[in-house]
C-alpha cells in the first residue's frame, strides 16, 4: 500500500470509528444517531450560510492545528494553544486600541504582529522550562492556559473595559485594525457571515509552515529532534534550542487566531471567545497527520462539526453541542491507538513526567 493511500486511509478509519462510537452514545442518550449526524454534517453544506460559517469556524482551527503539528514534529505536545491564543487576542486588542488612530497599512501588521509575538512568547516559556529544567510541557502549558485567562481578564477589567459594559470585553479596536470579510469580494456571500481575510491568511500559513518544516534548516532540525533526539544531538543539533524554537513557532501560529477573532470578527478582546479551539487543534493536527495539507482538510472538517453542533443543540431533543467535543476526543483516541498498525512511536521519548 502506498504511503499516500495509507495516510489517507487511517484518518478516515479513525473518523468512522469515532462516529460509530459517538452514534452509540447518541442512541443511549435517546436521540436518533442518523438524524443527529445529518444535522451535524449536513448543515455545513448549504451555500452561502453553511459553507461560509464552516470556513469561519475552520479558520482558527487551521492555526491551532498547525500550532500543535509544529510542536508534534519536535516531539512536543502543546496543549496550551488555548492560553496562547487568549494572550494573543488580548495583545492584538491592546495594539488595536493603543494605536487606534494609525492607518490600516500600519495598524494591521502591528496588531497581528503583537498577537503572534505574544503567543510565541507565551509558548516559549514552557519551551524554556522543558529545555533547561526538563519539566514537562503538558503540565506547564495547561497551567499557562489558566494563567492566560486570569491575566487577560484582570488587565481587561483594570484598563480596557468600556465603562458601563456588563460583559467582560475591551472597547472596540481602531477601524484601521479591522480586516474585511470575504463577502466583500465573493458574490453571493453576504457580509454578515463572519468568514474574513484571515481564512486567506490561514491558507498562506499552511504553505509557510510546509516550507519552514521541509525546506529550511531550522525546520529540518526540529523534525530531526522530534523523530530521534539522541541522533539529532549526536549530529550536532542543539535539542534545547529546537524545543524553544518549536514552541515559539507553535505559539505564534496559535496567536494568529487573534487575526480571525479580534481583527476579523468581534473587533475586541472578549473573555471566553474561544470555544476550545486550542484543544480541537490537537484533534486537527493528529487527524491531519501533522502535515499542513492534512491540517487544512481536518480543520474544515471540524469547522463543519462546530457549525453543525449549534444545530444539534437546537434541533435534537437531548443531545447538545458537547457531542462535538466527544467526537474530537474519540478521533484523538482512535488515531493514537492506530499506532498498533505501525509499531512506531511518533513522539520523542519524553522527559520525566
Amino acid at each position: 500500500m502506498s504511503k499516500v493511500l495509507r495516510n489517507l486511509m487511517f484518518p478516515l478509519i479513525a473518523v468512522l470509528a469515532a462516529f460509530i462510537a459517538g452514534g452509540i452514545i447518541v442512541a443511549l442518550i435517546g436521540d436518533d444517531p442518523i438524524e443527529t449526524y445529518k444535522l451535524l454534517v449536513g448543515s455545513a453544506l448549504s451555500w452561502p450560510e453553511g459553507i461560509g460559517y464552516t470556513l469561519f469556524y475552520a479558520t482558527p482551527l487551521v492555526f491551532t492545528g498547525l500550532a500543535v503539528a509544529v510542536a508534534f514534529r519536535c516531539g512536543l505536545l502543546n496543549i496550551g494553544a488555548e492560553g496562547q491564543l487568549t494572550i494573543a487576542a488580548f495583545a492584538t486588542a491592546w495594539a488595536g486600541l493603543t494605536f487606534s488612530k494609525q492607518p490600516a497599512w500600519l495598524l494591521i501588521p502591528i496588531a497581528a504582529g503583537m498577537g503572534i509575538l505574544a503567543g510565541a512568547a507565551w509558548a516559549a516559556i514552557p519551551g524554556l522550562l522543558k529545555a533547561h529544567f526538563g519539566s514537562h510541557e503538558v503540565i506547564n502549558t495547561i497551567m499557562m492556559n489558566f494563567i492566560a485567562l486570569g491575566v487577560a481578564s484582570a488587565l481587561t477589567q483594570s484598563y480596557f473595559k468600556q465603562p458601563g459594559d456588563a460583559i467582560l470585553e475591551t472597547a472596540p479596536i481602531g477601524a484601521g485594525a479591522q480586516i474585511s470579510r470575504l463577502g466583500k469580494w465573493i458574490p453571493g456571500l453576504p457580509q454578515r457571515i463572519p468568514v474574513n481575510m484571515s481564512f486567506i491568511v490561514a491558507m498562506i500559513a499552511c504553505i509557510l509552515v510546509y516550507a519552514f518544516l521541509w525546506r529550511t534548516k531550522w525546520g529540518y532540525e526540529i523534525r530531526a529532534t522530534g523523530s530521534n533526539p539522541d541522533a539529532a544531538e549526536y549530529g550536532g543539533i542543539s535539542i534545547r534550542k529546537q524545543i524553544v524554537l518549536a514552541m515559539a513557532v507553535s505559539g505564534g501560529l496559535a496567536g494568529m487566531v487573534a487575526i480571525n477573532e479580534v481583527m476579523g470578527y468581534r473587533y475586541r478582546y472578549y473573555q471566553g471567545f474561544s470555544s476550545g479551539y486550542g484543544f480541537t487543534g490537537i484533534a486537527v493536527a493528529l487527524l491531519g497527520r501533522n502535515h499542513p495539507a492534512g491540517v487544512l482538510v481536518a480543520a474544515i472538517f471540524f469547522g463543519a462539526l462546530m457549525r453543525g453542533g449549534l444545530f444539534v443543540d437546537i434541533f435534537t431533543e437531548h443531545v447538545s453541542k458537547d457531542l462535538v467535543l466527544v467526537l474530537q476526543a474519540l478521533v484523538i483516541l482512535f488515531v493514537a491507538a492506530e499506532a498498533l498498525f505501525r509499531r512506531k512511536n511518533r513522539m520523542a521519548k519524553g522527559m520525566p513526567l
Binding site: 452514545i25 442518550i29 435517546g30 505536545l77 496543549i79 522550562l129 529544567f133 526538563g134 519539566s135 514537562h136 503538558v138 503540565i139 506547564n140 495547561i142 497551567m143 499557562m144 492556559n145 489558566f146 494563567i147 486570569g150 491575566v151 481578564s153 484582570a154 477589567q157 483594570s158 476550545g276 484543544f279 490537537i282 484533534a283 493528529l286 437531548h318 443531545v319 447538545s320 458537547d322 457531542l323 462535538v324 467535543l325 466527544v326 474530537q328 476526543a329 474519540l330 484523538i332 483516541l333 488515531v335 493514537a336 491507538a337 492506530e338 499506532a339 498498533l340 509499531r343 512511536n345 511518533r346 513522539m347 521519548k349 519524553g350 522527559m351 520525566p352 513526567l353
Partner: protein, 294 residues
C-alpha cells in the same frame, strides 16, 4: 500589613487539608500508574468523570455513598479506556490521556444536558446528600496503605519491577500487562474519588470542567514527591496550602485583582516543577509500551 495576620489562622490549616484532598487522591492514583510504567495524564478527565457521576447518582439516589460508588465505577471505566489504548494498542500515553481529558470535557455536559436539560451544571444537592469529611479521611488514610502495598507486598514489588524493567519482570514470570491494567484501573478509581469530593464534598453540584487543572497539579505533586507516597502527600499539602492561601487573600490584600491571586496555584505548580524535577528520577520504563518478545 494587617492582612498577614488575617491570613495565618486555624481555618487556613483546615482549608489546606480540604483543598489537598482531591489532589492527594489523584496523585496517589497517578503514582501507582506511573510506578507501573504508564503515564496518566488523563487524571484530570478521570476526576471529572468521578465528579459528574457522583453528583448525578447522588441526585437520583439521594445517597452520597451510592454516588461515590458510582463515581468509582466511572473512574474505572475511563481508566480502562486509557489502559486498553496504552497497553494493548501501544497508543502514545500522553496523547491517549489528552483524549481522555477532552472526552470528559464534553461527556459530562452532554450527559447533563440529556438528564437535567442543562449542560452547565447538575441540580443543587441538599446538605444532607453531601460527604464533606469522608473523602478526606480516605485520602490521608490511603497514604500509608499505598506505601505498604508498594513496598511491603508482592503486588507492590511486581508493580515497581514492571515500571523499572518490564523485560526482566517478564522473564521472572511477572504478568506485565495484568499488573499495568491493575495500576491504571486503581488510578482511575482514586482520581474519581477525588473528583467526587469536588462535587459532593466541597460543593453540592457538578459544573463543567470543575476540576480546573487539579489532575495536572496532582501530576506535578507526584513528581515533586519523587513518586513516593509520603513525599507526594507533603507536595499535595503544599499545593493545597497555595490554593488555601490564595483563597484567603482574596479581598484581604488591597488593590490586587482577584484574578492575580487565583493564578497563584498554577504559578506555584510551574515553579515547583521546574525547581525540583531534576532532583528525582522517574520509573525507568515510564511511557514505554511493552510487548512480549516472541
Amino acid at each position: 500589613m494587617q492582612w498577614i495576620t488575617d491570613l495565618i489562622s486555624v481555618s487556613l490549616l483546615a482549608s489546606t487539608i480540604r483543598l489537598a484532598t482531591p489532589l492527594l487522591l489523584a496523585a496517589l492514583g497517578g503514582l501507582l500508574s506511573e510506578r507501573s510504567g504508564i503515564i496518566n495524564i488523563g487524571l484530570e478527565g478521570m476526576m471529572l468523570a468521578g465528579a459528574f457521576t457522583a453528583a448525578a447518582v447522588t441526585y437520583y439516589a439521594a445517597n452520597p455513598w451510592a454516588g461515590l460508588l458510582a463515581a468509582i465505577g466511572a473512574g474505572l471505566f475511563v481508566a480502562f479506556i486509557h489502559a486498553v489504548a496504552c497497553i494493548e494498542f501501544d497508543a502514545d500515553q500522553v496523547v491517549s490521556g489528552t483524549a481522555i481529558n477532552i472526552l470528559m470535557l464534553g461527556g459530562p455536559p452532554l450527559m447533563s444536558g440529556a438528564l437535567f436539560q442543562t449542560t452547565g451544571s447538575t441540580p443543587q444537592l441538599p446538605q444532607s446528600s453531601l460527604i464533606p469529611n469522608a473523602p478526606m479521611a480516605i485520602a490521608f488514610g490511603l497514604v500509608p496503605v499505598v506505601w505498604y502495598v508498594l513496598y511491603r507486598t508482592r503486588f507492590g514489588l511486581r508493580l515497581r519491577a514492571v515500571g523499572e524493567n518490564p523485560e526482566a519482570a517478564d522473564t521472572a514470570g511477572v504478568p506485565v500487562k495484568r499488573i499495568r491494567y491493575a495500576a491504571v484501573l486503581i488510578s482511575g478509581a482514586l482520581a474519581a474519588i477525588g473528583g467526587a469530593y469536588l462535587s459532593i464534598g466541597q460543593s453540592s453540584l457538578f459544573t463543567r470542567n470543575m476540576s480546573a487543572g487539579r489532575g495536572f497539579i496532582a501530576l506535578a505533586a507526584l513528581i515533586f514527591g519523587k513518586w513516593r507516597p509520603f513525599q507526594t502527600m507533603l507536595a499535595c499539602l503544599l499545593f493545597g496550602f497555595g490554593e488555601a492561601a490564595s483563597l484567603q487573600m482574596q479581598g484581604v490584600i488591597p488593590h490586587i485583582r482577584v484574578e492575580y491571586i487565583e493564578i497563584v496555584p498554577y504559578v506555584l505548580t510551574m515553579v515547583v516543577l521546574a525547581g525540583f524535577i531534576g532532583l528525582s528520577r522517574p520509573p525507568r520504563a515510564l511511557g514505554q509500551p511493552y510487548a512480549k518478545e516472541n
